[in-house]
């Protein structure tokens, strides 16, 4: 009973902190583009005029657009309206593709990003963890040491660099894989068609590969050092004294103890993974958030950039918060003391 109370206090404290932090982050996200030079309204009007329309009452038009883009009133007023609009799911309109809504653009790009990111990270983590487990367990072997050196180097190579090299090798020189895109241009986006799925996987292979290879090293190194440390622990010695087979000791005792920190590391590195994959998408013209970001930068489409930043901030922040809050529950050793 006493334990539950402490847990509640901890959880509430984390939640309050999270909300405050999110609000501040959102405010910053919101304010910055407003200091940007240039006039989004002017751009939109110019675009429409270029298409041949004429405006009778220009002031009325400007007013309407200002309301649409949420530019009326003082900054605090705008922020409050901004927050309420966001909670309704209205992220505004793209400046470049007006009147397409930002949420539409994001909605189109998000599934691709999640697919690429999710699959690549899962593969990379699983592969890196298993290889690292063996490397850590047999840490004296030369193979293990060689792998470590390679992993160390890979660790610092950014995803996009490897992406460029892979494009060169596999797409240009060997022409096995396509240069970019998410699926063949001739196909329609149809999640039920086998052709489409095949094409999707084929096109995702290279971007996925570059993410997997470069992030592999990180998982490998972290579990390797965990296992090396664990190997010397008393309970591993006792497991051996119990007459257990080596594979059983490695999996059921060493691995299980290393799993939790390794999973936490996965959860906490979400931010970095997201950053890296954005650039990879850009290089492969993969229609996820990364490419959208790149294009919006080139066309100065502030609202879209803001929308992307918002989504990433919210999701990464939320994920980190969940992990922070739930971790004590999962690890039987941690108590709810102040960190």
């Amino acid at each position: 009973m006493v334990r539950l109370k402490k847990a509640h206090k901890y959880f509430i404290r984390r939640t309050i902190l999270f909300v405050i932090i999110m609000l501040i982050a959102l405010f910053i996200n919101f304010t910055i583009p407003r200091f940007a030079p240039g006039n989004p309204i002017g751009t939109v009007i110019a675009m429409i005029e270029r298409q041949g329309s004429r405006f009778e009452n220009i002031q009325e038009v400007i007013d309407t657009y200002e309301t649409m883009f949420g530019l009326k009133g003082s900054i605090p007023e705008q922020f409050v309206r901004y927050l309420s609009e966001i909670s309704k799911g209205n992220l505004g309109y793209s400046i470049r593709y007006f009147p397409v809504r930002v949420s539409t653009l994001l909605g189109r790009a998000l599934p691709f990003s999640i697919f690429l990111l999710g699959v690549s990270t899962a593969i990379s983590w699983a592969l890196g963890t298993v290889i690292g487990l063996f490397a850590g367990w047999k840490s004296e072997s030369r193979l293990s040491k060689t792998f470590s050196y390679v992993a160390l180097i890979l660790n610092v190579v950014p995803y996009y660099m490897l992406a460029l090299v892979l494009i060169f090798l596999l797409a240009y020189v060997m022409a096995i894989f396509p240069f970019g895109g998410a699926y063949a241009g001739t196909l329609k986006m149809d999640w039920t068609s086998i052709e489409f799925i095949k094409s999707l996987l084929y096109h995702s292979f290279l971007p996925s590969l570059s993410i997997v290879i470069t992030s592999l090293g990180w998982w490998f190194l972290s579990i390797r050092s965990l296992i090396v440390d664990l190997k010397g622990e008393d309970f591993i010695l006792l497991a051996e004294a119990k007459g257990l087979k080596e594979s059983r000791i490695m999996w059921k005792h060493a691995f299980r103890n290393a799993l939790l920190p390794q999973l936490t590391m996965l959860a906490l590195s979400l931010g970095g993974v997201v950053n890296g994959s954005l650039l990879t998408e850009m290089i492969f013209s993969y229609p996820g958030l990364g490419l959208l970001l790149f294009e919006s930068i080139a066309t100065a489409d502030y609202t879209v950039i803001q929308g992307i930043t918002l989504i990433i901030t919210l999701s990464v922040g939320f994920a980190t918060f969940i992990i922070d809050a739930l971790y004590p529950l999962v690890d039987p050793r941690i108590t709810y003391e102040e960190r």
Binding site: I20, I153, L164, L279, I305, T313
Partner: protein
């Protein structure tokens, strides 16, 4: 001072650090001596575009007719300058904030911690993108400032927890018992620890700065008036250099950057092992 001499010798005993250091020095020498000898202005159109390496242009020319070799040399210097500047800001400012938060505790600590947590939550790339886009004209110095703005939170947090744990340690209580004043404790006991840690972190920050700067530039948000390594990659992508088989243009910045990253990383790890005795026994 005797400490420093002994310390330097010990640092070089670390194989990792020495390896990184050698690569680093090589890059610096290469860049400095190279630009003294060759010295084409990196941004100037000096010859016909898309030339493969030859006697006149050691690394060939890019699609604008600029000398790739000079761009590399110049780019190394720029990256390092930005890295040093950013790390200086981050490490000093961050450490000070972290230290104040940890040492004085209470309301000061809570307030500062909230700010630090906010900075940590904001996703790096989109935010930097947002700022640089809003500012439109990005110069290198501005880039360094922005990077510095985002990088100080991590050291702040670390220093804070280090300070907190140091506060509890026995030798502080001993000092207090022996009648030392607050500032005496500060300078004699805590600061040397901090300095050690800060120097290891400085290298890590440099690495972070170079990596982040490159990422931002590859997106096209870098300075337009000087050519940095990251911007080279940006133009490589824009001009589809890979598909036009302009290998000298895209391999050279990648190799240079990897050398830079690896050298900084090795040096950091080497120092980290020494500063963090917990890690020393392991292999």
């Amino acid at each position: 001072m005797v400490h420093a001499g002994r310390g330097i010798r010990e640092i070089f005993r670390s194989r990792e650090f020495t390896a990184g250091f050698i690569i680093f020095v090589f890059l610096v020498m290469f860049s400095v001596i190279g630009s003294a000898l060759i010295g084409y202005p990196p941004m100037a159109t000096v010859g016909p575009p898309n030339l493969s390496p030859n006697n006149k242009y050691l690394f060939g020319t890019d699609s604008f007719g600029r000398d790739v070799f000079s761009q590399i040399l110049h780019g190394i210097q720029l990256s390092l300058m930005v890295a040093i500047l950013v790390s200086a800001i981050d490490t000093f400012f961050g450490s000070s904030v972290g230290f104040v938060a940890g040492y004085y505790g209470g309301l000061v600590d809570t307030a500062l911690s909230v700010i630090v947590d906010v900075m940590l939550v904001i996703p790096l790339l989109p935010a930097i993108v947002l700022i640089t886009v809003s500012v439109r004209k990005v110069e290198l110095f501005l880039m360094a400032m922005i990077l510095g703005l985002f990088g100080w939170a991590a050291p702040a947090r670390q220093v804070r927890s280090q300070t907190l744990s140091l506060k509890e340690r026995e030798f502080i209580s001993m000092a207090k018992l022996s009648g030392a004043t607050r500032s005496e404790i500060l300078f004699i006991e805590i600061v040397p620890h901090m300095l050690q840690w800060m120097s290891a972190h400085y290298l890590y920050d440099m690495l972070w700065a170079v990596l982040t700067e490159a990422s931002v530039e590859v997106l096209g948000l870098g300075p337009q008036t000087t050519m940095t390594l990251g911007m080279m990659l940006y133009w490589v992508i824009r001009k589809a250099a890979i598909f036009r088989n302009l290998w000298w243009w895209w391999t050279t910045p990648i190799i240079t950057m990897i050398c830079l990253f690896v050298s900084l990383y090795l040096m950091h790890r080497g120092l980290d092992r020494i500063v963090n005795p917990r890690l020393r026994g392991r292999r």
